[in-house]
């Protein structure tokens, strides 16, 4: 077992990392299952530095009832092709309409927004995602792998039908699955996976439905593991101007879009 590495902490973009508003082009649409799809959007210019956990705020032009932008995590980045990948779950009008865009359509994006998960070195890291919560974990696992960490990702889904896109994680570490119906991997919730009992970790990074993240937080607390969660509060601007997206922390209301979306659970009132 590696020595516990707890010196890393949540990263904030530096002043020189400017936010941008740019028009991207939809270059690929991949339907994963009836609920999830992946969009590849391409910029005309080289992409700026993007950290794992950061998100974009996308304008939805093809739906009358959508007024504000929609925040989406950055699922993956291809600097060579200037492509950002988004992993989207259909929830309401906005996400539904994003799934109806046609190749070649213009996508207006404000990015990169928010902070980054910690990137420790040579640590044992556990990534737990549920549903579309997996979105930021792929790009994160890449960073963690490159920094010499051991990466274990658990994806929790309802059934094998939803266990999509796993291959992408393989280059960066171990990928495990839990399904609620037992149709793939272990049966149960991701926090019930045997690996949590059988192995010990330095970091737990999670994203997904709040109940799942709270279960991860409870596991981390009990095992004294550093735990970072990514929150999904409703947002109007995404860059700190409106104060709509606050979460109640031990230091008062903090904006999820600028002081998050990644928080150390110790700072939350969970």
């Amino acid at each position: 077992m590696k020595p516990k590495n707890s010196n890393a902490s949540i990263l904030y973009p530096s002043k020189s990392m400017k936010k941008l508003i740019q028009d991207f082009e939809l270059v690929k649409y991949e339907e994963l299952n009836c609920e999830h799809f992946v969009l590849d959007i391409k910029a005309n210019e080289p992409l700026p530095e993007i950290l794992p956990g950061q998100f974009v705020n996308v304008r939805v032009d093809n739906n009358k009832s959508v007024f504000l932008r929609r925040p989406l995590s950055i699922h993956n980045v291809d600097y060579e092709r200037n492509v950002i990948q988004l992993f989207v779950k259909r929830i309401g009008e906005g996400t539904k309409s994003l799934g109806e865009l046609k190749i070649g359509d213009n996508v207006s994006v404000v990015y990169p927004l928010g902070n980054s998960y910690s990137i420790p070195k040579n640590a044992k890291t556990l990534l737990i995602g549920g549903g579309c919560g997996v979105a930021p974990l792929l790009y994160l696992s890449k960073f963690l792998h490159e920094a010499g960490n051991e990466v274990t990702t658990i994806l929790g889904v309802r059934s094998s039908y939803d266990a999509v896109g796993l291959k992408a994680y393989e280059p960066y570490g171990r990928i495990l699955v839990t399904t609620e119906d037992g149709s793939q991997g272990e049966k149960g919730y991701p926090t019930q996976h045997s690996v949590l009992e059988n192995e010990s970790f330095d970091y737990a990074f999670t994203c997904g439905p709040e109940p799942m993240m709270k279960a991860v937080a409870a596991y981390a607390e009990s095992k004294d593991v550093i735990c970072e969660v990514s929150l999904e509060n409703t947002m109007a601007c995404g860059f700190g101007a409106c104060l709509c997206c606050v979460t109640d922390t031990k230091k008062g209301n903090k904006c999820v879009c600028t002081e998050g979306p990644v928080f150390n659970v110790k700072d939350l009132k969970w």
Binding site: K18, K19, L20, I21, R59, S65, V66, F67, L68, R69, V110, N233, T234, M235, A236, C237, G238, F239, G240, A241, C242, L243, C244, C245, V246, T247, D248, G252, N253
Partner: protein, 304 residues
């Protein structure tokens, strides 16, 4: 070249485009996107005498062509503003005004007095119309008597440009505008948000922690434009128009209705560059219509 300069009493704006309080942070949030010195002015966050945590989450709900907010004046208080924030923003090459809010008259007065001492703040916008605070706030803006009272008290201690922001949630906004003009307001701005509400039919819960909140965005534009027109006819001080302005065409409409300047609010969330685009768009409109001075458009609606 066209002249875009307008004056709000003694305050000179290089162009009529300002940004609305609560939608533009302290300006800093937009520095990556635009050059703040391209704006006629910016109005920073609602500032109160004391630190306020604001309302609990959720504070926002999307509505047809608009949004509801219930931020509730979250801010660190005026002392923090003077000490921490003012030094950071005082050198912006534009008019930086502070939106002053309160729940009792004494708070308004003390806050205004402290800001009066800041050299690079040419004016305040007195917010007597915030629908998102339990005590005071909007209540001051909904009767002539209370509007008068707070403006009179602040006028005594505040010596620079005093803009008063009016509430649209009233039967007769023109009479309230006249009342504050009578107490020495240098200009009025309108509209603040319309009180609204949203419910999630699936969960049966209100979408805002405060149940009701303030409606903004293009949905309110026709109401805002009507009120600006009514107020511009009723008072002799300059009127600053806002409510749902998304582009230069909208801004021109407010100016034609009688606004000397406009403020851009919710639109900043959707396009953080929209304010400077509107400056450009106004210029283009003037060239296309052969108007050399923006002041010739103020109130220039053609009623036949």
């Amino acid at each position: 070249m066209v002249n875009l300069e307008v004056k709000l009493k003694d305050m000179v704006l290089k162009n009529p485009v300002m940004t609305a309080s609560g939608t533009f942070g302290f300006g800093e949030e937009f520095a990556d996107f635009i050059d703040l010195s391209d704006l006629g002015g910016i109005i920073v966050k609602g500032t109160t005498r004391h630190h306020r945590e604001g309302n609990p989450y959720p504070r926002m709900a999307e509505t047809p062509s608009g949004m509801l907010n219930a931020v509730g004046l979250q801010n660190k208080g005026v002392e923090n503003f003077c000490k921490d924030i003012y030094p950071r923003i005082k050198d912006y090459q534009t008019n930086v005004m502070v939106n002053v809010s309160g729940s009792v008259i004494g708070d308004y007065v003390e806050t205004a007095a402290m800001i009066n001492d800041l050299d690079h703040i040419p004016g305040i916008e007195l917010n007597i119309s915030c629908p998102n605070v339990k005590e005071g706030g909007m209540a001051f803006g909904t009767s002539c008597a209370s509007a008068k009272e707070v403006v009179r008290a602040v006028r005594k201690v505040y010596k620079k440009h005093l803009m008063v922001k009016l509430s649209p949630n009233v039967t007769d906004i023109a009479s309230i505008a006249k009342a504050v003009e009578g107490q020495g307001a240098d200009s009025v701005s309108l509209i603040n948000t319309l009180l609204g509400m949203a419910i999630d039919a699936e969960t049966r819960k209100p979408l805002l922690s405060t149940v009701t909140g303030g409606l903004s965005g293009p949905a309110v534009k026709p109401v805002a434009l009507r009120m600006v027109w009514q107020v511009a006819q009723a008072v002799n001080i300059p009127v600053v128009g806002l409510g749902g302005i998304m582009n230069a065409k909208d801004a021109i409409e407010f100016i034609l209705a009688g606004a000397t300047a406009v403020q851009i609010g919710t639109a900043n969330f959707i396009d953080p560059q929209v304010s400077v685009k509107i400056v450009e768009g106004i210029k283009e409109y003037m060239i296309r219509h052969q108007v050399s001075d923006i002041n010739d458009l103020i109130g220039a609606i053609n009623l036949k």
